[in-house]
Symmetry: C2
DNA sequence: GGCTATAGTTGGCACTGACAACTAACGAGG
DNA sequence: CCTCGTTAGTTGTCAGTGCCAACTATAGCC
């Protein structure tokens, strides 16, 4: 009974799960966007700027192009986000030694400190959210979210224009 | 001091879960933001506008203030988002019969149709993401995400300014 | 040396999001 | 009835986002 048969029951279940998950994810994403806005912006940096800083600290150093694709943003947008971070002294642009076209982006000490501070705040929030859950549930939640992010990235990260294949009849 | 946890082991587990969940959720939220940008914008409407339309269709009709708090946005922002939807003919403003101060917002037929179309697209995407998962896993995922959204909303929806209690020394 | 491809930047535009200042209508109290 | 405080929305302003398209500069190839 665990085989992936195309029975009407299985179909109905998939439909229901799709709808339910869609609703739940919508809520979740909305709440986290709100949290990010509120939690990050009191630190002299915007949400997108924070994502960029995070990506840079994590990676150590990136070209503008790779940063853009990490953030799934246009290069022009990314360039301006970096402008802001550069202006505020959190990130430094240097020319790549082997290829003068590429810009090497690295977080400054100041940038790393800020990143650390914000990360601490966000982790505190996260802990507050989940500490009420029983340990097993928490653990399972982590697994599920991770898996979901992976699957979604595989499906979605791939399609650049519009809605992919189905839909979007313009 | 803040938490009276049982054992150091449990503490460590909580820390690890917090970190892991934070990473996973960050990824998840990023991917879904991207999906929304790409999936919605080919329909003559922006992401925020779509969220607003969705809230209106769901609720049937809302005042501007309640729409703002549903979306967790400032009233001024909300007003302008509604401007755009109004201009495009997806939403109508009417004066509330009992209180001439409040604006009743309702989706037009056009608005409901657009909503339906976009919803279909997003559900198709969602289905594509999860249809590869075994049915039990899917079901569990729905439960977990729902629970997480609920817990997060309780914790986060509450704190309006800045980061809540900890951090944010301005 | 000239050509094409690649990496980034800049211009332009619509929109987002916040705060503050404003207008309009409701609801007491006098 | 009129005034005052409150509540609901709108508008002004400003920084930032995000896209496309046009541009500059360097690299790599013939």
């Amino acid at each position: 009974m665990t085989t992936q048969t195309a029975t009407p029951t299985a179909d109905a279940a998939l439909e229901r799960d799709t709808r339910d998950l869609y609703e739940a994810l919508t809520d979740l994403v909305r709440v986290y966007q709100f949290r990010d806005r509120n939690c990050i912006c009191c630190h002299d940096i915007s949400v997108t700027q924070c994502y960029a800083l995070d990506a840079l600290v994590r990676a150590g150093s990136l070209s503008l192009g790779s940063l853009a694709s990490t953030l799934m943003l246009d290069k022009s947008t990314t360039s301006r986000v970096v402008d802001a971070l550069d202006r505020k002294g959190y990130v430094k642009r240097t020319v790549h030694p082997d290829d003068a076209r590429v810009v090497r982006l690295t977080a400054t000490i100041r940038g790393r400190n800020l990143h650390q501070t914000i990360r601490r705040d966000l982790l505190n929030e996260e802990r507050a959210v989940i500490e009420s859950l029983p340990a097993e549930v928490r653990r399972a939640t982590v697994g599920v979210v991770r898996e979901l992010a992976k699957v979604a990235a595989k499906r979605i990260g791939r399609v650049a224009p519009c809605c992919g294949d189905d839909a979007c009849e313009t």
